[in-house]
């Protein structure tokens, strides 16, 4: 096995290449357990609730949401930013670690890439529904039209956002799909069912693994990886600019772009950790997703969490140091204390304090605690977006504008629906496609541990 001085063997058990194929493809061959059907039904339930919420939103309009004249962005934008943040996991894992030649990514990257694609689909639901008149949604696209022609405002971050997210979705989907082609060919060649062979044969583009194709394929992975790595930074910076280019206290800060990028990577890594612990347990893949893998993610989380803590402190410090009464009010009377202080403290504890427990090896080795902390980070990152969006909007410069915000069941339904969709996609993916990259794992298993 590939054995590094720092991390030890990447895959346990001195496996043969054939054994790797068989073990990773096992969930595709066998019938899923009862738990699979149970979670599947739960997801369908969530999707039905979400479908009802979409119907109400489209049929009756966004007046069914808890928005008002002051809080014009509510749960939808919070959830949009949250999902986009999670959508950075795949890229952060696959691409950054690919570019940095980190071999341990091989057991995790496939699931992380899937998370990216599905999370971005979940995220785009929200701004699309927020348009209200969905049928006029194409107005956001730059095309010659009969309205003047009236072009878009190319100086607006909202337009940049559409462009960046579409490009990100395209690039990450291609990266994910192209990365799966050799593995689809493996399933094609080992299946005994004619229907399956036809489907996987169609999907794998006639791949046979010639050295000429592999050589180009590796170059292509680096090309997509290198270009998309730059995109990760720009996508979330642009999402941050949606807020930062406004004049609201709490939003109008130059720290937002890096702060959002780091926040996205924190939530993405936390979600990967949550998912990997579940996969490892449910599919008994301890030899592939080893303690060493989880340990490495925990160490990265400590580092990112420290940056998050610095960002939170910087925001508070700048509000105090600027001596701007509006900034002081927003941060110290509407976040640290005041009506929304619970959300603020959940955010701070979950994102900046709890991950610091990963400094201790004993904690990193206890998977139950690691799992709970990873969930806390996911929740904490949701609250971060809640704090940013809601506290600044409920109390702006003009006290007569001050309003309260409570989400309605329709908004909750939209979020639940996307969650159902996310889990459902993951379940189906694990049933029909290899959840760990076969060819990459085989590539790192080529060296014997002795």
């Amino acid at each position: 096995m590939y054995n590094t001085a720092i991390r030890g063997p990447l895959i346990k058990g001195d496996k043969t290449i054939h054994q790797i194929t068989e073990e990773i493809c096992q969930p595709i061959d066998r019938r899923p357990g009862y738990w699979w059907y149970f979670v599947f039904l739960l997801c369908l339930g969530a999707l039905i609730y979400g479908g009802w919420a979409v119907y109400i939103t489209v049929h009756e309009g966004i007046g069914t949401w808890g928005l008002n004249n002051s809080v014009t962005w509510g749960w939808c934008i919070i959830n949009f930013v949250w999902w986009i943040g999670i959508g950075h996991a795949g890229t952060a894992f696959s691409i950054f670690l690919l570019v940095l030649e980190q071999k341990w990514r091989t057991s995790i990257n496939r699931a992380a890439e899937l998370m990216t694609v599905v999370a971005v689909i979940c995220a785009v639901h929200f701004p699309i529904l927020h348009i209200g008149r969905l049928w006029d949604g194409f107005f956001i696209l730059p095309y010659p039209n009969t309205r003047g022609p009236l072009w878009l405002n190319f100086n607006s971050p909202l337009f940049w956002d559409v462009l960046a997210i579409c490009t990100y979705f395209m690039a990450s989907s291609l990266f994910w799909y192209v990365g799966m082609i050799p593995d689809l060919a493996t399933i094609r060649d080992r299946t005994t069912s004619k229907i399956k062979r036809a489907i996987y044969g169609f999907l794998c583009f006639g791949w046979i693994g010639s050295s000429r194709d592999w050589f180009r394929y590796e170059k292509l992975s680096w090309i997509i990886g290198g270009l998309t790595a730059a995109l990760v930074v720009s996508v979330h910076s642009i999402v941050a600019m949606d807020f930062a280019t406004s004049v609201l206290p709490g939003w109008h800060t130059t720290i937002f772009p890096p702060y959002f990028v780091v926040g996205a990577i924190l939530s993405g890594f936390a979600m990967v950790l949550t998912l990997m612990i579940i996969i490892r347990k449910v599919y008994k893949l301890n030899d592939y997703i080893t303690d060493s893998h989880l340990n490495a993610i925990c160490k990265i989380l400590v580092f990112i969490s420290l940056i998050m803590g610095t960002a939170y402190s910087t925001e508070l410090f700048m509000a105090w140091y600027s001596n701007n009464e509006y900034e002081m009010f927003t941060f110290f009377h509407n976040r640290v204390t005041g009506e929304y202080n619970t959300a603020f403290w959940i955010m701070l504890i979950s994102n900046a304090i709890l991950p610091q427990l990963f400094w201790f090896k004993k904690i990193r080795k206890k998977l139950a605690i690691v799992f709970i902390i990873s969930l806390c980070i996911n929740i904490g990152m949701w609250f971060e977006r809640y704090v940013i969006v809601i506290t600044s909007l409920t109390k702006d410069y003009f006290p007569s504008n001050w309003a309260d915000y409570r989400p309605t069941t329709v908004e909750v339904g939209l979020f639940t629906g996307t969650f159902g969709f996310f889990v459902l996609c993951i379940l189906l993916f694990f049933k029909y496609l290899p959840m760990i990259s076969l060819y990459e794992v085989k590539g790192v298993s080529k060296y014997k541990s002795n």
């Binding site: 043969t16 290449i17 054939h18 194929t21 730059p142 003047g148 022609p149 009236l150 072009w151 405002n153 190319f154 100086n155 607006s156 940049w160 462009l163 960046a164 579409c166 490009t167 395209m170 690039a171 291609l174 192209v178 082609i181 050799p182 060919a185 493996t186 094609r188 060649d189 080992r190 044969g201 169609f202 999907l203 794998c204 583009f205 006639g206 791949w207 046979i208 693994g209 010639s210 050295s211 000429r212 194709d213 592999w214 050589f215 180009r216 394929y217 590796e218 170059k219 292509l220 090309i223 997509i224 270009l227 730059a230 995109l231 720009s234 642009i238 060819y439 990459e440 085989k442 080529k446």
Partner: protein, 170 residues
């Protein structure tokens, strides 16, 4: 070419030693099939690609086309001033050009890869050996009319001596 000789291996190191021997004997290898990318094989087979250059050109194309479009839309087609900014608003355009550069670079590179490798959805794969995508490493050598039966025997023995689990003639 009157057929193909296949040397099947189950170990990457044996495959590489066989390839080196064949190279020393100046025997032309038509292709090597592996279940995962093996860098030594690329070196022995002297693989080269112009894909990175193509990507660079796609990126340049993306930037130029996007900037021309933005200039035409903002300055020529509908010159409307937003927020006191100039019509040819370079800082905003840089960002859009950057994103579109990546769009063109990624999308067209993937298309170029598929076109150049002649891979497309539904393509019927020519399976030379059943376990190629699982655990078999295969060396393919074209049988040429000028090859004598002795040459073929010698070739077979080289492949077997270097650990081939199977040598097939097709």
């Amino acid at each position: 070419m009157i057929g193909t000789i296949l040397g099947v291996y189950e170990d990457e190191e044996l495959l590489i030693s066989a390839l080196q021997k064949l190279q020393d004997e100046k025997i032309e290898i038509s292709e090597v099939l592996t279940p995962y990318p093996v860098h030594e094989v690329f070196k022995i087979m002297k693989r080269k690609t112009r894909l990175p250059l193509a990507t660079f050109l796609f990126c340049v194309l993306g930037v130029i086309l996007t900037y021309l479009f933005l200039y035409w839309a903002s300055v020529l087609s509908y010159p409307l001033i937003f927020g006191g900014k100039p019509l040819n608003s370079i800082p905003s355009f840089i960002l859009i050009c950057f994103v579109m550069m990546i769009f063109f670079g990624v999308f067209l590179s993937v298309i170029a890869f598929f076109v150049r490798s002649k891979l497309y959805p539904g393509k019927k794969a020519k399976i030379h050996y059943p376990r190629i995508t699982d655990n078999a490493f295969v060396i393919m050598i074209d049988k040429k009319p000028e090859m004598s039966s002795n040459d073929i025997k010698q070739l077979n023995s080289i492949l077997k001596d270097h650990g081939a689990v199977e040598v097939l003639e097709k």
